[in-house]
């Protein structure tokens, strides 16, 4: 059969230059006629087997090496997770534990027993290091995905009545919480990086401090996310 040099090189997992040299040096049972590689499939198959070289002519889809775009295809968007969690206001309390207790109550579609477990995990995580990541924002989350949780990722956005001391890195009191509950660590990291990106935007921080309506808030998140996906 006849095949372009590039395709055969791809099938043999060689560079075209190497394949060309091998043909010239007679190391491979392939002839070059009119710029095309001329070979017998079965002869080349047995040659490849004998020389421990992989050879298959099945077209393999080219995987994009851009990791982020790959992820956005399979991961939920920040916006969808935030819509699932909802925007909540009117949360009182003056200590971290008080606030977390109320936040857990706002998590949609979760049994009371699970609320208890979640609260325990959140407090345990805060004890390790604070999730106050600065600029008046904290992102409480359990250290590991909750066992038996295979639902879509949820982010519960909460605006606090009183700013509280969250032991943040920048020592600023925290007025906004994003409670993150994810089925996998990978999704968690993905959503976290998106939140982190949003928080780099000063206008977003200003918006947060104004306690926006859910629609306003979602619109802003959507705008930033679109910006990320366009690169």
């Amino acid at each position: 059969m006849k095949l372009e040099l590039e395709k055969l090189a791809l099938g043999l997992q060689l560079s075209t230059e190497t394949l060309e040299r091998w043909i010239r040096q007679g190391r491979i049972p392939v002839k070059k006629t009119d710029g095309l590689c001329d070979f017998k499939k079965d002869v080349l198959d047995s040659w490849a087997l004998k020389h421990h070289i992989r050879f298959s002519l099945i077209e393999t889809p080219v995987t994009p090496d851009d990791d982020i775009s790959c992820k956005s295809a399979e991961e939920p968007t920040l916006l969808s997770a935030m819509i699932r969690g909802g925007v909540h206001t009117g949360i009182g309390g003056n200590t971290v534990v008080d606030v977390l207790k109320q936040v857990v109550n706002r998590v949609p579609m979760i049994s009371e027993a699970d609320q208890g477990i979640l609260l325990e995990k959140l407090i345990e995580r805060e004890r390790l290091t604070s999730t106050g990541i600065g600029k008046g924002v904290a992102i409480p989350h359990p250290r590991n995905p909750l066992p038996g949780n295979d639902r879509d990722a949820v982010i519960v956005s909460c605006f606090l009545d009183n700013k509280i001391d969250f032991k943040s890195i920048d020592h600023k009191p925290v007025g906004v919480l994003f409670l993150i509950i994810c089925p996998t660590v990978k999704t968690h990291l993905f959503l976290l990086s998106r939140i982190s990106f949003c928080l780099r935007d000063d206008s977003f921080i200003t918006l947060l401090s104004s306690q926006p309506s859910p629609d306003e808030f979602y619109k802003s998140v959507e705008a930033i996310e679109n910006r990320i996906e366009k690169g």
Binding site: D67, T129, I133, G134, H188, L189, L192, S196
Partner: protein, 575 residues
């Protein structure tokens, strides 16, 4: 200063210290003499037993003799010296490939005794393989006695094998070529000179002890043009028989392997079957040199059909003897079968073209032998030189080259590995010098491990990890349990890349969240070939090495290339 001097350490003598070539030549000569003597002993032993039993062969019950001989031989090998059975030459090749030329001291005589019993009692096998393993073991153990290194030991092992073959055939060049072509598979100067010296020493000794006409007498044959053409046909004929013989012996081996009998009983059964064949066709018994002699002399009287019957009877007898566990080699039987084939072909030519004057039937017998050696042993050069030396002249060289090369080429098409190599190749034990397999099998994971990796803990934050990364020069960070040091996973630089500039995440993410836990892991004892296979199939360039749950280091293709290249340079450059 007192010089360190020991007669057991000739490598430290001033004479040999600068260059070991002289040492190898001198010890090669010694080995050649010893193995030549072993060959002489075996030949005389077989002859003695064969002639001692000759009067008994007139009785019908004599078919038990080969059975008894084979069973005794197997009992001796397995119970007395406690070795594994086998043809001999494959064990020597295995030792060169895998053991650095190490052979047991008992191998110096065990096969001699066993094959003496097998062949002397009438089993159809050759004395060459046993004498090759004995000679090789002599060389190997002399090298060990003098505390030589592996390279020198392999050379001396080759010297022993060459001395033995040279002595038994009175053919020094054939011995040299056989060792280089079959046993070592490497034509390098460091080997050739000592082995040539050993061949000459072995030959000289056998000439001294039994005169200059050992196996076969010299003859000259006038070759005409039509003989040369006719040889092409003979080449295909011998190739066909070679393939047949190879497969017959292999299949016999498979059949006997499935039989659940003690090994000595199997050998006895095979031997008795040979004895029965021997009652009808006595020529099949023993190593068969006497019938070769008759054929070369042209005194073998039977017609074409009887010759063909003898040819196939010998094939069957050999596969029965060797396939069922008898002790002996394939070399002499293939010479006998070859000469029968050559003779049959000659008879056919005379019947078809009675008006032409053909080369004598002895000449065709010799060509047939070369065809079989070229085909079965995949050793065309050995076949050519052996026949040239036996005939003592160059008249037959042209047809000889034609038969030998065509036969081995055709045979290679059907059976790519010779009968010696087949099992070794299947088990991946045939490692010729300078090949990829050789280099990879010499390297071990232990040598390739890079140990200067920075270990991180699972509860480190991303900020701490990035601090570690900035101070390190590597791209892989193994994660270990802080308490018991168990290997938990691996963080690669690629895992961190997306978060490098997300400073808000630095304190919200832990190493245990980033690390990869579903990894392919190499172990210290793994072979480099297997590890490379995994890397290739997964498209990865590095793998962590873990031993007993604890991280040892990383292996990477980059380091492997470095080592591979050095290894190849050391292994292939001959001085």
């Amino acid at each position: 200063m007192k010089r360190f001097f020991s007669w057991r350490l000739p490598g430290t003598w001033t004479l040999f210290r600068s260059d070991d070539r002289l040492l190898l030549i001198v010890s090669g000569m010694l080995v050649g003499l010893a193995s030549g003597f072993a060959a002489y002993l075996l030949n005389s032993g077989i002859l003695f037993i064969f002639q001692f039993l000759q009067p008994l062969r007139t009785n019908t019950w004599s078919f038990f003799l080969p059975g008894a001989g084979a069973a005794l031989a197997v009992l001796f090998i397995t119970k007395v010296v406690k070795e594994k059975g086998g043809h001999g030459v494959p064990e020597v090749i295995y030792s060169v490939s895998r053991l650095g030329g190490k052979l047991k001291a008992s191998s110096m005589f065990s096969r001699l005794v066993a094959s003496c019993l097998t062949i002397g009692s009438g089993g159809s096998a050759g004395p060459e393989s046993p004498v090759v393993i004995s000679g090789a073991a002599i060389g190997s153990n002399i090298a060990r006695f003098f505390s030589m290194n592996e390279r020198q030991r392999v050379t001396l092992l080759g010297c022993g094998a060459a001395g033995a073959i040279s002595s038994i055939f009175n053919a020094p060049i054939a011995g040299l070529v056989f060792v280089l072509e079959v046993v070592l598979g490497e034509w390098s100067k460091v080997h050739i000179v000592p082995i040539a010296v050993a061949s000459v020493a072995g030959t000289q000794l056998s000439r001294l002890l039994s005169g200059n006409q050992i196996a076969f007498s010299h003859h000259s044959f006038p070759v005409s043009y039509h003989d040369t053409f006719a040889c092409v046909g003979l080449a295909f004929f011998t190739a066909l028989i070679s393939v047949l013989m190879t497969r017959l012996i292999r299949n016999m081996h498979v059949v006997s392997g499935k039989t659940t009998l003690p090994v000595w009983a199997k050998a006895a059964m095979g031997g008795c079957a040979v004895g029965l064949i021997g009652l009808a066709v006595p020529d099949v018994l023993g190593e068969g040199y006497h019938s070769i002699r008759d054929m070369i002399e042209g005194t073998y009287r039977q017609g074409i059909s009887l010759v063909l019957i003898a040819c196939f009877a010998k094939l069957l007898a050999t596969s029965l003897t060797l396939g069922w566990g008898g002790s002996g080699g394939i070399f002499a039987p293939s010479l006998v079968v070859g000469s029968f084939a050559g003779l049959a072909y000659h008879r056919l030519l005379i019947t078809l073209f009675p008006s032409l004057k053909w080369m004598g039937e002895g000449g065709y017998a010799l060509l047939g032998m070369a065809g079989l050696v070229g085909g079965i042993l995949q050793a065309p050069l050995t076949g050519i030189f052996l026949i040239v030396e036996i005939t003592g002249g160059y008249e037959v060289i042209l047809p000889l080259i034609i038969v030998s090369s065509i036969s081995s080429t055709v045979c290679y098409y059907f059976e790519p590995a010779s009968i010696y190599m087949k099992e070794l190749v299947e088990k991946g034990h045939l490692l010729r010098p300078g090949t990829d397999a050789r280099v990879l099998s010499d390297l071990s994971i232990q040598e390739l491990i890079e140990k200067n990796c920075t270990v991180v803990r699972p509860d480190m934050t991303l900020r701490e990890l990035i601090m570690v990364v900035t101070q390190s020069r590597r791209n892989y960070y193994p994660v270990e349990d802080a308490e018991n040091g168990t290997f938990l996973g691996l963080v690669t630089f690629d895992d961190i890349r997306p978060y490098l500039f997300e400073t808000m995440m630095y304190d919200a993410v832990f190493v245990e969240q980033i690390m990869n836990t579903e990894l392919d892991i190499a172990h210290v004892g793994d072979s480099v070939v297997d590890v490379l296979e995994i890397m290739d199939s997964r498209g990865i360039y590095s793998m962590p090495v873990v031993d007993g749950g604890v991280f040892i280091g990383m292996v990477s293709k980059a380091t492997l290339f470095d080592h591979y290249r050095k290894e190849l340079m050391v292994q292939t450059v001959n001085d």
